[in-house]
Symmetry: C2
Subunit: 95 residues, 2 copies
Protein backbone atom coordinates (compact mmCIF):
# COMPACT_ATOMS: atom_id res chain seq x y z
CA UNK A 1 0.00 0.00 0.00
CA UNK A 2 1.17 3.55 -0.62
CA UNK A 3 1.58 6.01 2.24
CA UNK A 4 -1.87 7.66 1.94
CA UNK A 5 -3.49 4.21 1.64
CA UNK A 6 -1.81 3.07 4.84
CA UNK A 7 -3.03 6.13 6.71
CA UNK A 8 -6.57 5.80 5.37
CA UNK A 9 -6.57 2.14 6.38
CA UNK A 10 -5.27 2.94 9.88
CA UNK A 11 -7.70 5.80 10.43
CA UNK A 12 -10.53 3.56 9.30
CA UNK A 13 -9.34 0.71 11.51
CA UNK A 14 -8.96 2.98 14.56
CA UNK A 15 -12.43 4.43 14.10
CA UNK A 16 -13.90 0.97 13.61
CA UNK A 17 -12.33 -0.30 16.85
CA UNK A 18 -13.56 2.70 18.84
CA UNK A 19 -17.02 2.34 17.35
CA UNK A 20 -17.11 -1.35 18.27
CA UNK A 21 -16.28 -0.53 21.88
CA UNK A 22 -18.78 2.32 21.90
CA UNK A 23 -21.44 -0.06 20.55
CA UNK A 24 -20.78 -2.49 23.40
CA UNK A 25 -21.46 0.28 25.92
CA UNK A 26 -24.54 1.38 24.01
CA UNK A 27 -25.79 -2.20 24.14
CA UNK A 28 -25.26 -2.24 27.92
CA UNK A 29 -27.27 0.97 28.20
CA UNK A 30 -30.08 -0.42 26.03
CA UNK A 31 -30.30 -3.64 28.03
CA UNK A 32 -30.51 -1.61 31.22
CA UNK A 33 -33.18 0.63 29.68
CA UNK A 34 -35.28 -2.43 28.82
CA UNK A 35 -34.96 -3.72 32.36
CA UNK A 36 -35.79 -0.55 34.24
CA UNK A 37 -38.53 -2.29 36.19
CA UNK A 38 -36.52 -5.27 37.29
CA UNK A 39 -33.08 -3.68 37.84
CA UNK A 40 -31.56 -6.94 38.95
CA UNK A 41 -27.99 -5.75 38.77
CA UNK A 42 -27.10 -2.91 41.14
CA UNK A 43 -23.59 -2.76 39.68
CA UNK A 44 -24.67 -1.46 36.28
CA UNK A 45 -23.73 2.14 37.13
CA UNK A 46 -20.25 1.11 38.28
CA UNK A 47 -19.77 -1.08 35.21
CA UNK A 48 -20.97 1.62 32.80
CA UNK A 49 -18.76 4.26 34.42
CA UNK A 50 -15.73 1.99 34.17
CA UNK A 51 -16.49 1.15 30.55
CA UNK A 52 -16.95 4.84 29.73
CA UNK A 53 -13.62 5.69 31.33
CA UNK A 54 -11.89 2.91 29.38
CA UNK A 55 -13.38 4.12 26.11
CA UNK A 56 -12.44 7.74 26.81
CA UNK A 57 -8.84 6.62 27.37
CA UNK A 58 -8.85 4.71 24.07
CA UNK A 59 -10.30 7.72 22.26
CA UNK A 60 -7.76 10.02 23.87
CA UNK A 61 -4.93 7.72 22.81
CA UNK A 62 -6.23 7.50 19.23
CA UNK A 63 -6.49 11.30 19.03
CA UNK A 64 -2.98 11.81 20.42
CA UNK A 65 -1.61 9.23 17.99
CA UNK A 66 -3.21 11.23 15.17
CA UNK A 67 -5.49 8.39 14.13
CA UNK A 68 -8.80 10.04 14.88
CA UNK A 69 -9.85 13.68 14.74
CA UNK A 70 -10.50 15.24 18.13
CA UNK A 71 -14.03 16.23 17.11
CA UNK A 72 -14.81 12.68 15.96
CA UNK A 73 -13.55 11.21 19.21
CA UNK A 74 -15.52 13.71 21.24
CA UNK A 75 -18.66 12.89 19.24
CA UNK A 76 -18.33 9.15 20.00
CA UNK A 77 -18.04 9.84 23.73
CA UNK A 78 -20.71 12.59 23.82
CA UNK A 79 -23.25 10.37 22.10
CA UNK A 80 -22.83 7.73 24.79
CA UNK A 81 -22.92 10.34 27.54
CA UNK A 82 -26.28 11.54 26.23
CA UNK A 83 -27.58 7.95 26.22
CA UNK A 84 -26.28 7.43 29.74
CA UNK A 85 -27.96 10.63 30.92
CA UNK A 86 -31.26 9.37 29.47
CA UNK A 87 -30.81 6.07 31.26
CA UNK A 88 -30.15 7.73 34.61
CA UNK A 89 -33.12 10.01 34.08
CA UNK A 90 -35.34 7.03 33.31
CA UNK A 91 -34.04 5.22 36.36
CA UNK A 92 -34.85 8.22 38.51
CA UNK A 93 -38.42 8.45 37.17
CA UNK A 94 -39.00 4.72 37.64
CA UNK A 95 -38.12 4.84 41.32
CA UNK B 1 6.92 9.85 3.78
CA UNK B 2 6.77 6.44 2.11
CA UNK B 3 4.48 3.72 3.41
CA UNK B 4 7.08 1.94 5.62
CA UNK B 5 8.18 5.33 7.02
CA UNK B 6 4.62 6.20 7.98
CA UNK B 7 4.20 2.87 9.76
CA UNK B 8 7.53 3.18 11.56
CA UNK B 9 6.59 6.70 12.64
CA UNK B 10 3.17 5.59 13.88
CA UNK B 11 4.50 2.54 15.73
CA UNK B 12 7.11 4.76 17.35
CA UNK B 13 4.53 7.39 18.25
CA UNK B 14 2.12 4.81 19.69
CA UNK B 15 4.84 3.25 21.82
CA UNK B 16 5.99 6.65 23.00
CA UNK B 17 2.47 7.63 24.10
CA UNK B 18 1.95 4.36 25.97
CA UNK B 19 5.34 4.71 27.62
CA UNK B 20 4.51 8.26 28.71
CA UNK B 21 1.32 7.08 30.36
CA UNK B 22 3.12 4.11 31.93
CA UNK B 23 5.75 6.49 33.30
CA UNK B 24 3.07 8.62 34.94
CA UNK B 25 1.77 5.55 36.78
CA UNK B 26 5.30 4.51 37.71
CA UNK B 27 5.86 7.98 39.14
CA UNK B 28 2.68 7.62 41.22
CA UNK B 29 3.96 4.30 42.54
CA UNK B 30 7.37 5.78 43.37
CA UNK B 31 5.86 8.73 45.22
CA UNK B 32 3.74 6.34 47.23
CA UNK B 33 6.77 4.16 47.96
CA UNK B 34 8.66 7.17 49.30
CA UNK B 35 5.75 8.08 51.53
CA UNK B 36 5.05 4.68 53.03
CA UNK B 37 5.32 6.04 56.55
CA UNK B 38 3.01 8.99 56.10
CA UNK B 39 0.40 7.54 53.72
CA UNK B 40 -1.61 10.71 53.68
CA UNK B 41 -3.77 9.72 50.75
CA UNK B 42 -5.97 6.70 51.33
CA UNK B 43 -7.22 6.89 47.75
CA UNK B 44 -3.91 5.95 46.14
CA UNK B 45 -4.99 2.31 45.63
CA UNK B 46 -8.20 3.37 43.89
CA UNK B 47 -6.34 5.92 41.76
CA UNK B 48 -3.61 3.46 40.77
CA UNK B 49 -6.15 0.76 39.88
CA UNK B 50 -8.09 3.20 37.72
CA UNK B 51 -4.92 4.41 36.00
CA UNK B 52 -3.81 0.82 35.38
CA UNK B 53 -7.17 -0.02 33.86
CA UNK B 54 -7.00 3.03 31.60
CA UNK B 55 -3.52 2.13 30.44
CA UNK B 56 -4.48 -1.49 29.78
CA UNK B 57 -7.34 -0.25 27.58
CA UNK B 58 -4.96 2.02 25.64
CA UNK B 59 -2.49 -0.83 25.20
CA UNK B 60 -5.26 -3.17 24.08
CA UNK B 61 -6.46 -0.62 21.55
CA UNK B 62 -2.94 -0.06 20.19
CA UNK B 63 -2.43 -3.82 19.82
CA UNK B 64 -5.77 -4.30 18.05
CA UNK B 65 -4.98 -1.39 15.72
CA UNK B 66 -1.73 -3.15 14.84
CA UNK B 67 0.42 -0.30 16.20
CA UNK B 68 2.14 -2.21 18.98
CA UNK B 69 3.12 -5.88 19.24
CA UNK B 70 1.09 -7.83 21.78
CA UNK B 71 4.25 -8.89 23.64
CA UNK B 72 5.45 -5.27 23.88
CA UNK B 73 2.11 -4.12 25.23
CA UNK B 74 2.04 -6.95 27.74
CA UNK B 75 5.56 -6.06 28.89
CA UNK B 76 4.57 -2.43 29.57
CA UNK B 77 1.63 -3.52 31.71
CA UNK B 78 3.48 -6.40 33.44
CA UNK B 79 6.33 -4.14 34.47
CA UNK B 80 3.90 -1.80 36.21
CA UNK B 81 2.05 -4.69 37.78
CA UNK B 82 5.31 -5.92 39.30
CA UNK B 83 5.99 -2.42 40.68
CA UNK B 84 2.49 -2.24 42.07
CA UNK B 85 2.88 -5.64 43.73
CA UNK B 86 6.08 -4.40 45.38
CA UNK B 87 4.29 -1.29 46.61
CA UNK B 88 1.43 -3.29 48.12
CA UNK B 89 3.91 -5.64 49.73
CA UNK B 90 5.82 -2.71 51.23
CA UNK B 91 2.56 -1.19 52.46
CA UNK B 92 1.66 -4.48 54.13
CA UNK B 93 5.04 -4.73 55.89
CA UNK B 94 4.89 -1.11 57.06
CA UNK B 95 1.54 -1.62 58.79
Amino acid sequence: MSSPDVMVHLHHKALQLLQEDANKIEKLIEVQMENLATRKCPLYEEVLDTQMYGLSREVDFAVRAGLVMESTGREIVSRLERNLAQLYEALESSK
